[in-house]
Subunit: 327 residues, 2 copies
């Protein structure tokens, strides 16, 4: 049924070794022979069997991607970008969602790790010990987890946050609320409070809550109660909750309150008003993590040291921010 290397060899009048070389090391076979082999292969519709190849030890040609929740609109563009990037390097991406559950993540990793050459773990729920142990068995790259001797892609919101503060200050705002639902990247480096203070903006933090739409809904009246004229939300989804409830409360955006999200998901660009937000480039995230992972795979034997790369952010001003109201 399925056409193997042997049949190609027969058709081309060469040995299987030569056919194999024609695909994996074309420069080692005489041009004329190469042509014959390639033509025979094309005529028969031959495609190498990945199982046999990886059994022999050539790797699986697949990169694994473990994501906490695909339904979070932050991830699809990243997955997409990783796929196209990986494809260009000859890899397939095996993506798995693990519902933010540690048990699911462990099970998923176990079932996937034999099928891939390496793993990108997004916001893993695993303990540092477990991650290091895993890294000993298979090349991994973690995103937003700081574990020694493991390559990491680190998101930095610093630029976006300080741009947001300046943006609000330029609009004359003085009081801002931050709706916190625990982003690991905010716990690092210069604090969000420092950035806002640097722009001479008073920042009140509320939470931590769950990162859901309802959190924004619940937070909206608190913003008004604090007499704040601006909000920075944990992410776009929470910001949309704020927008929703402010409308219900009769407060206009940006007339009475300016709202800023984080992530620049699809949600931000299609809301009414469209949402000013802090963008983290999915393409850059994807390119970096694939780069780090292929690097780790290539250096598996030779022991290339782990690397950390930082991916920045920037403010994308849209319609949900504007001049502070005069009081």
């Amino acid at each position: 049924m399925t056409v193997t290397i042997r049949e190609v060899a027969e058709a081309a009048g060469v040995s299987v070794s030569t056919v194999s070389r024609a695909f994996t090391a074309p420069d080692q076979v005489k041009p004329l022979t190469l042509k014959r082999v390639l033509e025979a292969a094309a005529a028969l519709g031959y495609a190498a069997n990945p199982a046999a190849r990886s059994l022999r030890g050539g790797g699986t040609g697949t990169l694994g991607l473990i994501i906490p929740d695909i339904a979070n609109p932050f991830f699809p563009p990243i997955i997409k970008a990783m796929q196209s990037r990986a494809r260009r390097l000859g890899y397939t991406v095996l993506m798995a969602d693990c519902d933010e559950q540690e048990a699911d993540e462990i099970e998923t990793i176990a079932s996937v790790s034999k099928r891939v050459d390496g793993l990108v773990l997004w916001a893993s729920t695993l303990s540092e010990t477990r991650l290091r142990e895993l890294a000993g068995r298979i090349p991994i790259v973690v995103v937003n987890r700081d574990v020694p001797e493991v390559s990491e892609v680190r998101i930095s919101l610093a630029a976006g946050i300080s741009q947001a503060a300046e943006h609000l200050r330029a609009y004359g705002h003085r009081k801002c609320v931050f709706i916190n639902a625990s982003r690991p990247e905010l716990a690092r480096g210069k604090s969000i409070h420092d950035s806002f203070e640097a722009a001479d903006l008073a920042l009140t933090e509320i939470g931590p809550y769950e990162p859901r739409f309802e959190t924004g809904v619940h937070a909206a009246p608190l913003i008004l109660a604090h007499n704040a004229t601006a909000v920075l939300a944990h992410n776009d989804l929470v910001a949309l909750g704020v927008l929703h409830q402010l409308a219900n409360l009769g407060a206009s955006v940006p007339g009475d309150v300016s709202v800023i999200g984080i992530d620049d998901t699809l949600l931000a660009s299609v809301s009414t008003p469209s949402l000013t937000t802090i963008r983290i480039s999915p393409d850059e995230l994807a390119v970096r993590s694939v780069e780090l992972l292929t690097e780790a795979i290539a250096g598996r034997e030779s022991g290339v040291p782990a690397r950390v790369v930082e991916v920045g952010s920037r403010l994308v001003p849209r319609a949900s921010t504007g001049p502070a109201p005069n009081r």
Copy 2:
């Protein structure tokens, strides 16, 4: 480095055959022996090598899922549901996005088809001939493509559409605009016009356009120009474009115009006002397609005939629809 069946056999004092049977046909090995093998395997941390298994002919244990665009918020919940369903059946899901490009789809299928036991093709761009030819080589299930002798999951919007019509009629609407961007499921069976006519509602169709946010933006003034008090949009995204632009034009929703979307994506539940929409259950879609595919895989040899199953829809009333304005 990696632990194989042979080492387990040695540790348990049995042959490799027995170890293999302990995992693939436990009832064929004596309980005591089984216990010894399982313990040895656990102690060594043994996990079967999928490459070897599939090379031998046991299938890959993977289902392929080809999607036109993951960034479309309709898909993530489906992918998620398919994964959890497949996992319960012992399968892994290999998802690939192909950007709605036929060339990408062909390439993707080629690179993926050897790694999976079967394929679910969502809204494939492939010709019917190609699909049938593909079906001859590997079990496939198509979604929303009608090709003879190939199993299909078919989305039916009939129920949702007629509920939408009745819903609007009950609110006193008489004129409605439909923003068309070509959904194959609307071209089948009772037409959308018939459903609206049955509810005594005049329906004006505009388009076809591209299914984008901007399409809704562009369509909004046309709705007012038509003197319609209700809109049915191609999907939630387009509906959000309408919402956006109606707000800019000073028309209130649902005060002046009622808006209905299709798909019930995340967008619908987080917009302001929240969007009345026609829901197609992602879980049912996922369960059905996995079911059909595993069926096709199991019946590969025995030649089980292709099946078609229909997945229904229903209206989810939210805040974007209300009483028609008095004129």
